[in-house]
């Protein structure tokens, strides 16, 4: 890709509509169009959530009332207090969930990126075969390895502890390894060659060049892992037996029965469980778009 030389870059907005005649109005039009699309799509995306929210403040007797159901007839915030009371130990569940998600995100991020770096940048016989093996671990449906896994964890004495939820993440997950590898592969080689000439060790190249350059993908992987562990109730369901060790997602799934089809409390509790993840995403999303990481580095 050749860089056009010596041209004046001051007139960016004009250039961005290159061969358009109405060059000045075009960006504004495009922006308006972008907004329209964003808002329409956003509303569509919001519908399920809005319905949830509106049900969560409704009176139980009104839940089934006709109408689209997006605008509640009542606004009963006490539903949230009721839902918390039904959950019995919400603080404890929150603590357990935070423990599991924090550890799995940090542990998973470290080991997955380490393994991904090796697959992206280090040459060794058998590497490609091993990479296929990594991906192949997610090709076998988990339903048939559930019982053997159960026996392994029980054999390790991990039944009814949080360890089966936490420890596997520390060995890296195929999803994360693959995704991070794809990004590492796009990082220009000259960077690390320069570092190598300066006498950098392989680990330092990974730690001081690749990781800082990959904030967008690391943030993405962190979000995925956080969301997955936050919402996972199957693993806790299988391995936990003590009430005080439960996670929020398991408590939600359990109380689905208690609430029966008491949609109001279920929706209130689901909203409460959802908010921390949403907040985290809202705060963290800017790490995904950390500017043009590569720009300038090539010059």
């Amino acid at each position: 890709m050749s860089k056009s030389d010596g041209s004046d870059m001051s007139d960016k907005s004009d250039v961005s509509a290159a061969n358009n005649k109405g060059a000045v109005t075009a960006p504004r039009l495009r922006r308006a169009l972008a907004y329209i699309v964003l808002i329409t799509g956003g509303l569509l995306m919001l519908v399920p959530f809005l319905w949830m929210l509106s049900r969560s403040v409704e009176l139980p007797s009104e839940v089934a009332s006709p109408g689209l159901g997006l605008i509640p007839k009542h606004f009963r915030l006490a539903n949230y207090a009721d839902a918390l009371k039904l959950m019995k130990y919400p603080q404890l569940y929150l603590y357990n969930t935070l423990k599991v998600t924090a550890l799995t995100v940090v542990g998973g991020l470290f080991s997955s990126s380490l393994v991904a770096f090796a697959f992206a940048r280090l040459r060794a016989p058998g590497r490609d075969l091993l990479f296929i093996l990594v991906i192949s671990t997610i090709m076998l449906p988990a339903q048939v390895t559930m019982i053997p896994m159960f026996m392994i964890f029980r054999g390790l004495g991990w039944y009814d502890t949080l360890l089966p939820l936490i420890v596997p993440a520390f060995f890296g997950s195929a999803f994360s390894i693959f995704l991070i590898r794809q990004f590492f592969l796009t990082i220009p080689k000259d960077l690390e060659e320069a570092a190598r000439i300066d006498g950098c060790s392989t680990f330092r190249i990974y730690w001081q060049i690749f990781l800082p350059l990959s904030k967008p993908v690391l943030a993405t992987v962190a979000f995925f892992s956080f969301t997955a562990h936050w919402n996972d109730f199957m693993t806790p369901l299988i391995y936990l037996n003590s009430i005080e060790k439960r996670t929020l997602a398991l408590a939600l799934a359990t109380f689905q029965d208690v609430w029966g089809v008491d949609i109001v409390s279920l929706m209130a509790a689901s909203t409460l469980v959802l908010l921390p993840v949403l907040l985290m995403f809202f705060i963290g999303q800017r790490y995904i778009v950390q500017g043009n990481v590569m720009s300038g580095s090539k010059g």
Binding site: P60, I132, M139, I263, L266, S270, F281, Q290, N292, V293
Partner: protein
């Protein structure tokens, strides 16, 4: 000062030790139960009372979601870490009794002189297999006819004379069914037209032969029953899908068809009564025996208390069971759960017998029947229901449908009751040793290969060493967890294994059945391929477009990103409820929008405007075999937020100078995208293609929770069918064979993708 601290410390330590030893002397039993909100307090009180009366036993009670208790229980029994007492749902669990997953209780009953005569015979029957008792009967749910008094009056029917037989039931239903001008049903006379089991029993028929080894429903009674059901359905509703769409619009509790007066008569259980009273205080209804033809019959479903096999506290568990199945505790629990005690004397107590609503239920129990306790019954029931559907839809005759059901059900029973004692057991110790040897050999071979191939240069050898060191976290995890578990499942795929009794080698039988005799293998694979072919490319294209939008520097873009990521975050339970409501055929939001009136210009007789629905007859989505899969594909698009942020992250590695450069070269927006942005995104697209394909080949949860594979198997995806085999029909060996079949298919597709990747995936670093 220091002395005081020491003394205090010492005392504290001693006290801790003392309480510790006190605790240690108590035996702890683990009790799993599912309960509603109203029941929970009663359980807690019951357990407290038991612990007071039995200070040497501590009860660790755990509330387990009812929909998952079976899976958790099977895993824990197979994994040899079962609980000690479980509240057991007999209609689900014949499978566990018939496969010896539970401890027989006969010796304990005899030893302690528990009088089984005090219990209703139907309750004993549903807890027995081959003359042995596996569960202590506890709560009963006899079904009876609920009918709406006001609707009876309005239709000119005498509410003191509910229908007693089938003819009256049909006559009443037709009078109670109301339609609007377009012919849409506004009020349905009788809702439970599809209960073949009950009708068969009422007509003097039977599901199984006397020796419980063969199906017996393909009989004159069976045929008559099915023909009657078809004509009833025809006259009252019109067709099968309409009935399903009508029924699926109501979700119980605050959306109960009977409570809302949309259904005049229904066969139902006593546990529905509290919700009806709570949400519809003005509802006037009464309870009567279900109308019958030749034989007065009521279906009775029950809850019992069982001790799973392998419990280490059988004696303490039994004491707990005896305590809670006493008449007094039974009455208390039944009142909270709105069920009928399994003890006759307790059922006759005023708490139930003086209540005009509950009394008819109690009176039905002596006529009670329940589904047979035989191995394979769950698959039997599924095969029966599926094969009768064409007859109810008018696509085949009753005789044909019954004959087909009979042959399939009889194969199911034969397979479940097959004598396995001659087949070889799996020598796990030898296999384990062989696997360890294989692993060691592989490691040695790999080590030798690596050192041989890098023998040329020291640098290459050091790089290879660094590579293996760097991937060691994954390698260790693979060896410790994945390798052994996958290998075990591979062994199971060559076995017949019902999870509860030891696995036995059957060679390639599972694979032969999969490829040769199971028409649903191709069907489910087709469903899955359909889903994958649409959802993966659609997801990538929309995700790409969305990420381009999200990469703009416009105001509040963070809020937009969060909104688009939101559906990914909503927990599964809530999602299912929301989507069921959105896609509901009659009341759902999607169909309401599709059928809103739009202004329309017509030119037929001169130009004039009129209001017509956008789509006059919107699809019935989740109850229509043609539209159920598209509904799932649409749903998958709501999860686009995940794909979006992957591409958004990838877009950050597109240097802005490149863009500017392209534009200055005179490239249009499309060309800049096509030649600059897109190539740099290909690694991320490749990832999404591979992972998306793998994930959608394994699509499971939504279908499991929302449709259960229906209608007419149209959303029976491969892994869902696998799950049914492995965990519901107890055919883990077959499930394992299915899993490895899928593994091969996915592997093939992935390898092809990797082979083709060189042509279009662009890595700047390489």
């Amino acid at each position: 000062m220091r002395r005081i601290t020491t003394v205090v410390g010492f005392t504290i330590v001693m006290m801790c030790l003392a309480t510790g030893s006190l605790r240690a002397s108590r035996e702890t039993i683990v009790f799993w139960y599912g309960a509603t909100q109203d029941e929970r307090a009663v359980y807690e009180r019951m357990i407290a009372e038991f612990e007071r009366a039995n200070p040497d036993i501590h009860v660790n009670a755990l509330l387990v979601p009812q929909s998952y208790i079976e899976r958790k229980l099977i895993l824990s029994i197979a994994g040899k870490a079962p609980p000690d007492v479980v509240r057991f749902y007999t209609h689900l669990g014949g499978e566990l009794m018939a496969r010896y997953g539970l401890e027989p209780l006969d010796d304990l009953v005899r030893r302690d002189g528990v009088e089984l005569k005090d219990f209703y015979p139907v309750a004993i029957r549903q807890n027995s297999f081959r003359e042995r008792l596996y569960g202590m009967p506890w709560l009963l749910s006899p079904n009876a006819l609920l009918y709406n008094i006001d609707l009876f009056r309005k239709a000119g029917l005498d509410p003191r004379k509910p229908p007693r037989n089938w003819d009256e039931l049909v006559r009443y239903s037709l009078r109670l069914t109301k339609r609007d001008k377009q012919g849409t049903i506004q009020q349905l006379g009788f809702a439970d037209l599809l209960s073949f089991n009950l009708f068969l029993w009422q007509n003097g028929g039977s599901l199984l032969s006397k020796d419980m080894r063969d199906p017996a429903f393909d009989s004159a009674e069976g045929k008559e029953t099915l023909i009657w059901m078809r004509s009833f359905l025809d006259r009252e509703v019109g067709d099968f899908t309409t009935l399903q769409a009508f029924n699926s619009s109501f979700k119980g509790a605050a959306q109960d068809a009977f409570g809302m007066g949309k259904v005049a008569m229904r066969i139902d259980s006593p546990f529905r009564i509290p919700d009806l009273r709570k949400y519809y205080p003005d509802l006037h209804f009464a309870v009567a025996p279900a109308p019958w033809k030749k034989l007065h019959t009521a279906e009775v479903v029950g809850n019992s208390l069982v001790i799973p096999r392998g419990s280490r506290h059988r004696e303490a568990a039994w004491r707990f069971i005896k305590f809670v199945t006493s008449g007094e505790q039974m009455i208390r629990v039944c009142r909270a759960a709105s069920r009928i005690p399994a003890r006759r004397a307790a059922a006759m107590s005023p708490a139930f017998y003086s209540d005009p609503i509950m009394r008819p239920f109690v009176d039905e129990i002596p006529y009670g029947r329940s589904v047979p306790v035989v191995p394979g019954y769950q698959q039997f029931a599924e095969a029966l229901g599926r094969n009768l559907e064409p007859a109810l839809k008018g696509q085949s005759s009753a005789g044909q449908a019954l004959a087909k059901a009979d042959s399939e059900c009889s194969a199911v029973l034969d397979r479940a009751m097959e004598d396995l004692s001659r087949l070889p057991l799996v020598p796990w110790k030898w296999l384990g040793a062989a696997a360890a040897g294989l692993l060691a050999a592989l490691v040695a071979l790999a080590g030798w290969q690596v050192s041989r191939r890098t023998s040329g240069s020291r640098a290459a050898r050091r790089e290879a060493a660094a590579f293996y060191l760097f991937i060691s976290p994954w390698l260790i995890g693979f060896v410790v967890f994945t390798f052994g578990a996958s290998l075990a499942s591979l062994v199971f795929s060559f076995c017949k294994w019902d999870v509860l009794t030891p696995a036995r080698f059957v060679g390639f039988r599972n694979y032969a059945e999969l490829l040769g005799q199971d028409p649903r293998f191709v069907k489910t694979l087709g469903n899955t391929a359909y889903y994958t072919l649409f959802s993966v490319p659609l997801g990538i294209i929309t995700g790409l477009a969305l990420s381009m939008l999200m990469n703009q520097k416009v105001r509040a873009i963070g809020v937009f990103r969060t909104i688009y990521y939101l559906p990914v975050v909503v927990s599964g339970v809530a999602t299912v409820i929301v989507w069921r409501w959105l896609f509901d055929a009659n009341t759902g939001m999607i169909n309401r929008l599709l059928s809103t009136n739009m202004p329309w210009a017509s030119l037929t007789d001169g130009l004039h405007f009129m209001w017509v629905p956008l789509i006059a007859n919107p699809p019935k989505w989740l109850v229509d075999p043609l539209f159920a899969k598209p509904a799932f594909i649409i749903m998958s698009l709501w999860g686009i937020g995940g794909t979006m942020i992957i591409f958004l992250a990838a877009l950050q590695s597109v240097p802005e100078e490149l863009h500017e450069a392209a534009k200055l070269d005179g490239a249009g927006a499309w060309q800049a995208f096509r030649h600059v942005t897109l190539p740099l995104l290909t690694p991320a697209i490749f990832y999404q293609l591979i992972i998306g394909t793998i994930a959608s080949f394994q699509v499971f949860t939504q279908a499991y929770l929302m449709t259960g594979g229906g209608p007419s198997d149209s959303t029976l995806f491969y892994v869902l069918y696998l799950y049914f085999n492995a965990f519901q029909w107890m055919r883990m060996g077959y499930g394992a064979a299915m899993a490895w079949g899928l593994f091969l298919i996915i592997m093939l597709v992935t390898l092809v993708h990797f082979r083709l990747a060189g042509r279009w995936v662009y890595y700047e670093g390489s």
